[in-house]
Symmetry: C2
Subunit: 575 residues, 2 copies
Amino acid sequence: MGKILRINMNDLTVKTEELGEYAGLGGRALTSSIIAKEVPPLCHPLGPNNKLVASPGLLTGTTAASSGRCHFGCKSPLTGGIKEGNAGGVVSQKIAHLGYSAIVLEGVPKDDKLRIVYINKDKVEILLADELKGMGNYETVAKLREKYGKVGIISIGPAGEQKLNAASIAVNDMDNRPTRHAARGGQGAVMGSKGLKAIVVDDTGAAGVEIKDKDEFKKWAKIFTDGLLKHPVTGEGLPTYGTAVLINIINEAGGLPTRNFSSGQFEHAANISGEQLTENCKDRGGKETHACSPGCVIRCSNVYNDKDGNYLTSGLEYETIWAFGANCNIDDLDMVARLDRLCDDIGLDTIETGGAIAVAMEGGLLPFGDWDRAIKLLDEDIRNATPIGKIIGSGAVVTGRVFGVTRVPAVKGQNMPAYDPRAIQGIGVTYATSTMGADHTAGYAIATNIMKVGGYVDPLKPEGQVELSRNLQIATAALDSTGLCLFTAFPVLDQPETFEAIYRMLNAQYGLNLTGDDVTELGKNVLKTEKDFNTRAGFTNKDDRLPEFMYQEALAPHNQVFMVKDEELDEFWNF
Amino acid sequence: MGKILRINMNDLTVKTEELGEYAGLGGRALTSSIIAKEVPPLCHPLGPNNKLVASPGLLTGTTAASSGRCHFGCKSPLTGGIKEGNAGGVVSQKIAHLGYSAIVLEGVPKDDKLRIVYINKDKVEILLADELKGMGNYETVAKLREKYGKVGIISIGPAGEQKLNAASIAVNDMDNRPTRHAARGGQGAVMGSKGLKAIVVDDTGAAGVEIKDKDEFKKWAKIFTDGLLKHPVTGEGLPTYGTAVLINIINEAGGLPTRNFSSGQFEHAANISGEQLTENCKDRGGKETHACSPGCVIRCSNVYNDKDGNYLTSGLEYETIWAFGANCNIDDLDMVARLDRLCDDIGLDTIETGGAIAVAMEGGLLPFGDWDRAIKLLDEDIRNATPIGKIIGSGAVVTGRVFGVTRVPAVKGQNMPAYDPRAIQGIGVTYATSTMGADHTAGYAIATNIMKVGGYVDPLKPEGQVELSRNLQIATAALDSTGLCLFTAFPVLDQPETFEAIYRMLNAQYGLNLTGDDVTELGKNVLKTEKDFNTRAGFTNKDDRLPEFMYQEALAPHNQVFMVKDEELDEFWNF
């Protein structure tokens, strides 16, 4: 087990502690436990009493495939509840190699100076960095790499510095671009409130992660890798087309939210599909398959070049393509890619930002489909902190309030991702009940509703969705504690030995005797810890509801509303 | 008892009903009962399922002194909870004379046209009024008066049309100016969402209000009037200096929130004091005493002229002078008067708008004291719907979010009025526990904490404040059901016969046998009805708290924080 590194941005002190009461925890289990224990639930998310925790998962830093996620946690300025979000990139393994289970940022600075934290095996330094003020993530990472060499970098862009509620935290990828983001819930704003532009992590000469039983670990790591490679989703679908393969699938299912969730199908879906993306990558010399962190065998990401063959963006994911594409009625993949690049650079959640722009489109600020204005909203307005930039950068709910829009597809203050719950009822249960607000990754019911992974539950019927979402949310909370990519859940759900491999690797690494039940228990405990924080922050079952219009406005083409009853949603927490 | 007039803005139909289950109710008791019974608590406040209710009080339309309040109720877009706000002016008595206990506006229009409702003794008409689009309340009232003669007018300005959360509902005063506002909680936005610019009420030839026992009524009405006239506050303080007499008093007490609640004393309080206001009114040919509705004997309002003796604004009240004065660090009463005039014209709550500007000042948008920019924010930005206008017009909480300000003095989404709860602890209990959000009128503890009306409870100590606020909130909820001005509470609290006169008048009017206990019961029932709505809307005791900084940041000059404990606040509802 690693240590906790506490960095106080108020008195600029640093201390290292044993895990103590948090022993045995990592990733989301650790971030959520620290937040729930140490952060007053009614504190202002941008004030001195919130904390920002970065934590590798329990398996991060080992050779376990696809285990390089870095988990971030805080009280969210967007939802007002607890938040965990994770990103790929190169930093998490370096933190683990240095022996840290968590970096906890505390307090807010006494001055308005900008700082970075530099961490290597010998020291932790808090350094002035006013020269980085207002700088985009791309330039920030380039400058820090130039100065510090082969390091992992956690950074924020102008959005985080402005403390905007849609601000993300960026992590540099294997090409040293700031393309991997813990995007949701405004965690970049919390980092900004602490006056911190970046955390630079250098693991040169670090001891690395201890493995108690190396042979046993190696054996199960291979079984795990094999499991990922042989499953049709992680071994074939995702590597070939990336996450964008879902555009056609979800559109076909009638659940691709179009023009601010006013239709479930987008007439021009083909133009922004995974197939089109792959073709563009191939034609233009990009990469149609790309690992987001070292040791990933799924390689679902990509590098997207412009028409002239020059790098434009990386990690052009389904959610982003949907958020700026179908949801904003933009059918040009190149324009979507530009918007993605801007979000990465400015440090913005693409889902929340696309959602806010779609709400602003409905509110009359700009026409649906106006990509030119959308680009300016990011590159000029949000970057330069104009009033309209501040509105959009504050997310969909604030945008809806200032424009008087009643159709705001948000739960607990967070915009829904790329699946309409009226056409895919299971994901609606996850949106409603997740401690995180509307979040597909919290319990990815699409797997079972649409992809028939882990069985099948009819997406158009309310029956069975609560149980499905509950099981998925429990499993995900456990998975999010290991540092494993969520996509490993596909083989885990279908292949018992792939699931077994996870706790066998944990046992081998830490000298434990965990069973499958222990993993489930961990997931349940994480959810209950988060739920308890939210309850103390004032959340009730009334927050476990979808917005009114989804109960009243039928969605084409299925012409259905969300049908899972309130009483059924309330059953979610009976476990 | 009157009837209920229901106006459906969706199908443009009108119907009149008996009170039925609402029999015996008026004013706030009626608006809150209708909202609690008929509006789904989780509906969008600007959507088709919210309703806007206008109701005269039980005594309105009689000769009872100061009984002309018009009560408005809805689900608030600002707080998300139930809302009642009331205004003086001439309309309430006309509604009562026509025999209506309530006008209930339902639905939202199918088109984007603007309409007015015209009501007289023979008909109710819904009329197109696109020519009034974007028009200020002053011009709107002038045009409608020109067309319809001596009518009462309920109207909204551009803020309500834009559905801004700080939008008010205006009522014309006895000089036919739109200076009386049901300002708090964004009720103007709800009216705007219904596509309604104005309700024009003509009581010519109306039957008037029936009094069962005229002699008995007359006897107690006189006792009531005498009671108002002989009490030092309603008979002398308020008529002489108006509500602005409080500037020096509250400043002296260290509870005048200055520069966004960062100090309890304003160095330049004398420049914006009631004494200065009265002097200006006298010197410039304004009116230093003025009734806000027919039959008011307190006459605490005023007419404020500019330096050239031309009319500038009316009803320049303490809260407004504080909101733009001390709270925005503006020490020029003429500039404050201009800001008040703009709020009346654009249709904005002066407390919320001043609060939002103060938060924006703290957020760096403009310097504290910059009255010139503040005026432009209203007259140019909010009036013309610019992005920054939409931010400020959405109130202090939204403004705080977009500017990343952590010190936002709001409860349940509503900015605090002109008394800092750290220096006057009793009002803090009202802010925290009121169903309305931070609202001084819900339980005016200043009376007992500062003015020693109804006894005395030390404002600097937490002891006794919960009981004080509870008793005041119960009494106020009852009073708000009669149509009587809140200021009648001063003599009612001190003089038993003035309290008795209220239920004796009700008995004489309606042929009832109410006792003082019945009045208290009514108040309790109103509060519990409202609380129940809020609970169903998702509110918990966590919403009955002041913002974090008021527990942590001591306020000069007393250097105190808010000291009433959470457990004590939770005791509030034990009645």
